[in-house]
Symmetry: C2
Subunit: 225 residues, 2 copies
């Protein structure tokens, strides 16, 4: 029986190496997904892999991926027509945070500290108007939480011009490496500095667009970043 | 005739949308590649796409990707045996930096500022011992420049246990979005804040490994980060 709060491992979500780094827990998987802006969406085109960086948003146990209806994955997914007979698009969606540089005494044990999530599945076009609007708001709030209700909503023309793919979180795993280097015991006396250099990220000062009226103040949800 | 300092566009390196964002110039493509730690390597496994985050290094017009010989892409690439009859592994290698959150007045024009590089090609196992050692040093120096000569070099056993894939930079493009939002003119008077929130990244204070002797000072190439 799968754990109720974890994704069930499958043949392709169990890593072939460093299995101790695999994580299936919902909370950790979702936290990694929610912290990033860009995922890397892999799909096939003419028999060859394509990896496209793209904005995405998680809503519960689904992920939405943004794209113009002219973009490659959406054209491919849409060839089946409506949702009922849409064959979908086989994808692998991966999200990665790099947290630190791991400097071992031996070249061999150099590494990175990271957190990544990999989702395997079949993405399908969102065609239901209510779900499409919900996914659109989620994608705007993925840029900055709170932004969807503080901008002009998409009109019908814009919604029609925006393709959205839905991918269910079912075959999912995270992989996490953290902590110090794993040098071999026999290297312990070597005279090289060893440890971790953390990578940090944050927000710079917001840059108003050229035409912004001085009367429009910076909203709280941006000032709080 | 292609520009001598640029990659020649091909059918799959010309984007289907936002073509004005495509860049083929060597200097810009290489700068994007050299700034990142992790690439997202896409390949096929059992007919489905896999997108694997992995450390990589550029050396001239080649990219090397690291992995244990037990890892999936290397096992697949290696099935042909030696280099001569190695059929290689079709891959798409993508590197992305997210530089800013683009907040338009309209939900529709929300975006991200980013720089990405996409490389299409066939990756092959590195089997020549000299090239393998060179690629190994490059991968360590990709973690921190200067580190390869300030750590214990890989011994023969470690080199044998480390698989490296080589991918030539031939079918390559960058895509860059920067600058302010592109709102529609009719939205110019809407009362929403608009502009860009920069994303910044940097290095934290190095954390010595638990067993590090106090006599080993932080090297200059780390203090300079």
């Amino acid at each position: 029986m799968p754990e109720p709060d974890a994704y069930e491992p499958t043949e392709r979500t169990v890593p072939t190496r460093s299995r101790e780094r695999a994580v299936y827990d919902h909370a950790q998987v979702h936290a990694i997904l929610d912290e990033a802006y860009v995922c890397h969406l892999g799909f096939l085109r003419d028999g060859a892999p394509v990896v496209l960086p793209t904005l995405y948003a998680r809503v519960g146990s689904r992920v939405y991926v943004h794209g113009s209806t002219g973009s490659r994955p959406l054209r491919t997914a849409g060839e089946g027509g409506g949702e009922g007979d849409d064959p979908g698009l086989k994808v692998c969606l991966t999200v990665t945070h790099v947290d630190g540089l791991v400097l071992a005494r031996s070249a061999f044990h150099h590494s990175l500290n990271y957190r990544s999530v990999m989702i395997h599945g079949t993405a399908r076009r969102v065609t239901d108007p209510a779900e499409k609007r919900l996914s659109f708001d989620a994608l705007v709030d993925a840029v900055v939480p709170g932004r969807a209700r503080d901008s002009r909503p998409a009109n019908d023309r814009e919604l029609a011009a925006t393709g959205v793919l839905r991918l269910d979180l079912a075959e999912v795993s995270a992989k996490i490496r953290n902590g110090p280097p794993n040098d071999d015991p026999q290297d312990a006396e070597l005279p090289y500095w060893t440890g971790v250099v953390p990578l940090v990220s944050g927000y710079g000062t917001p840059i108003p667009a050229p035409g912004l009226a001085p009367s429009v103040a910076l909203p709280d949800y941006l000032a709080a970043l």
